[in-house]
């Protein structure tokens, strides 16, 4: 073999190794995130478990009302297992999780898995719709402002996003109800229908209200990435090659700029859950957030613990999806 052939062979080998390393990193990240998701879910549950029991309020008395005998109270407490020591209660609940048993509501007696199964989809739907709307608004907006040379456009963008960020979500929701629900009468103020396309009628306005805080953050981050990208040399090569407009905007501007925004969006799912809980209350939607509020009020331990755990799982899961999407968009992103 000549020298150059040898180097070529060495480089070939190195390339194969590198490819494998990438795939291994991807696999490792995948399992790592699942593990992390479970760990975070566990700790959120532990915190919810302890805080509920440390805070004042007796679930037994709250569940039974005022006019009950002491015997009845004691009997119910024993039935719920609340007379057992703290750590036994925890162990019972914790081992239950692995059998798919999250306990029963102290109030309604409903199976907690069933509560989550019915109400979680509504919340996830609102979050999904919020993400969709936020993307549909932020992408063109940031692109338009970044490619505009007008100072007025840039100034208006900064001003309006600041204002939008300062308006609380619930206020925006009430305003939306007033405008779209009462004035234009195109959004129902209350009520709900469970099946998929029909329920969108009830969900679009809450999702849009969520966008009030999402869009300013996302469009600003995307805008600043786009401005950086526009300055890059490779954009120049795209211009010189006369790449078609659509392809130019996607492959030369958006795709190289999107990763930080996507990652941020996925990390904001936690914030979005908070916003969605408020929306569910305002629009009387049967989401998991409203269940959580009722359960906290009534010290409904199993319901609170389980929902908190699910939220933890969701947040970590979404952050993984965000990192993965960022990587698929732009291979320079490293998965950790």
């Amino acid at each position: 073999m000549t020298d150059s052939q040898q180097t070529a062979a060495a480089q070939d080998a190195q390339m194969v190794v590198e490819k494998d390393r990438n795939r291994a990193a991807l696999r490792k990240t995948f399992y790592g995130r699942i593990l992390r998701s479970v760990i975070v879910g566990f700790w959120v549950m532990v915190i919810a478990f302890s805080l509920m029991r440390l805070s004042p309020g007796d679930p037994v008395r709250l569940a039974l009302g005022a006019d009950v005998t002491e015997e009845a109270v004691d009997a119910f407490r024993t039935q719920l297992g609340l007379d057992k020591p703290f750590y036994i209660q925890f162990w019972d609940y914790f081992t239950g999780i692995f059998r798919g048993d999250l306990g029963y509501s102290y109030f309604s007696g409903r199976d907690v898995t069933e509560i989550i199964g019915t109400h979680l989809p509504v919340t996830l739907m609102i979050i999904g719709l919020s993400i969709l709307f936020a993307a549909l608004i932020s992408l063109p907006l940031a692109l338009f402002v970044a490619t505009s040379k007008s100072n007025t456009v840039n100034y208006m963008f900064r001003a309006l996003t600041s204002v939008s960020l300062a308006i609380p979500g619930f206020f925006l929701a009430l305003l939306g109800l007033l405008v779209f629900g009462v004035y234009f009468n195109i959004a129902p103020a209350a009520g709900y229908e469970g099946a998929f396309p029909g329920n969108l009628k009830y969900l679009w306005l809450p999702a849009l209200a969520n966008c009030g805080s999402l869009v300013p953050v996302l469009s600003r981050v995307l805008h600043s990435s786009l401005v950086d990208t526009l300055d890059e040399e490779f954009v120049e090569t795209g211009v010189i090659r006369g790449v078609r407009k659509g392809r130019f905007y996607w492959s030369y501007l958006l795709r190289p700029s999107l990763a930080p925004t996507v990652v941020l969006l996925s990390y904001m799912v936690g914030v979005m859950i908070g916003g969605t809980v408020i929306m569910e209350t305002i629009f009387s939607l049967p989401g998991i957030g409203r269940e959580l509020i009722t359960a906290v009020d009534g010290r409904d331990y199993p319901v609170v613990q389980s929902i908190a755990m699910i939220f933890g799982l969701i947040v970590v899961f979404f952050s993984f999806i965000g990192d993965l999407t960022g990587y698929l968009l732009d291979r320079r992103v490293t998965l950790s």
């Binding site: 390339m15 040399e233 490779f234 120049e236 795209g238 090659r241 790449v243």
Partner: protein, 329 residues
């Protein structure tokens, strides 16, 4: 006019500025003057910030998107004005007769597209969309890339700096341009890779007859591979001449550049660095913009316009009004 005696590119008294709504226009280049002949390899040398990249942009039509404008003078490509070319003219011109390899090997290729996709884009620019795949492979082989099939499927981040720069050169050659502009093509690459890229450029010039503009801040590098040299200082062409002619430079700046070169330094003699910095854009005083750094500066150097480029002998031109004092240096 026959193509043989018109230069391929004529840069004539070019002044480039960045217009601003409220502030006065910022002049970045004032006056650039040089020719590039068919099949010639010309080096443009000058410190960072001297306006080299800006001049390139006038030839590839990306000055406007960077906020710049040719305020006066003209750039002629085969006798046609580029300064007055409209965006639709540029659509026909851009990337076809003039290939461009951007500054910085690392940021040149699009990070989110595979090498194959980028070569395909460049090839489609020729208008011929047949056999893209096999033509891509030929281009990569032309720039001496091995394992072509693997490289086609890769993303830029998987390639070394030298490989990336080869890919950029391949893309620029896709349309068989008459002129290839390479803007500091070897910044950030190590010395062996640098000399490989230089060999490649030389070979392209001799086999394809492509005229090449090589931009660099390294005079030694330019001396080695180019036929002619254009020296820029603070937005002005201060000296033009063949490599042979520039062995005896006639501008104090070029003389200083030469005496700061390690490769031709006399053993035992001191390496001189050029004193001070070039004046930044927007801070130019009247007269010669080299005055503050010049060792033979005279009172009249600091008045009036920046000195004009005037012929000394042959093709050698210098923008200095006191060349008679050069012996003192």
């Amino acid at each position: 006019m026959s193509a043989s005696n018109t230069p391929l590119i004529q840069v004539r008294d070019v002044v480039i500025g960045i217009p601003h709504k409220r502030r006065p226009t910022l002049t970045i280049v004032n006056k650039a003057n040089f020719d590039i002949n068919y099949g010639e390899m010309v080096g443009i040398v000058g410190e960072s910030g001297s306006g080299k990249t800006m001049i390139c942009r006038t030839m590839i039509g990306t000055l406007e998107r960077r906020g710049g404008k040719i305020l006066s003078g003209d750039v002629l490509f085969e006798g046609e004005s580029l300064a007055r070319a409209s965006e639709s003219d540029w659509k026909k011109l851009r990337g076809k007769s003039i290939g461009y390899v951007p500054q910085s090997a690392l940021a040149g290729p699009n990070p989110v597209l595979t090498i194959e996709a980028q070569l395909a884009e460049a090839l489609r620019n020729t208008g011929d969309t047949k056999n893209i795949k096999s033509r891509s492979k030929e281009l990569l082989e032309l720039v001496k890339i091995r394992r072509v099939d693997t490289v086609l499927k890769q993303y830029p981040y998987q390639l070394s700096g030298g490989m990336r720069q080869r890919v950029m050169i391949a893309c620029a050659l896709a349309t068989s341009p008459k002129l290839l502009i390479a803007d500091e093509p070897t910044t950030g690459l190590d010395v062996t890779v640098q000399s490989q890229i230089m060999d490649l450029l030389k070979e392209i010039r001799s086999t394809m007859g492509t005229a090449i503009v090589l931009i660099s801040h390294d005079l030694a590098l330019i001396d080695e591979v180019c036929d002619r040299v254009v020296v820029m200082h603070a937005g002005a062409t201060v000296e033009v001449g063949s490599v042979k002619e520039l062995v005896k430079p006639r501008h104090p700046y070029t003389i200083a550049l030469n005496s700061s070169r390690i490769d031709i330094a006399q053993p035992g003699s001191e390496l001189v660095t050029i004193k001070g910095n070039a004046p930044s854009v927007g801070e130019w005083n009247p007269g010669c913009r080299f005055a503050d750094r010049c060792s033979i500066v005279q009172a009249d150097c600091r008045t009036g316009e920046h000195p004009e480029l005037i012929g000394a002998s042959g093709t050698h031109q210098t923008a200095c009004i006191h060349t008679e004092l050069l012996e003192r240096i």
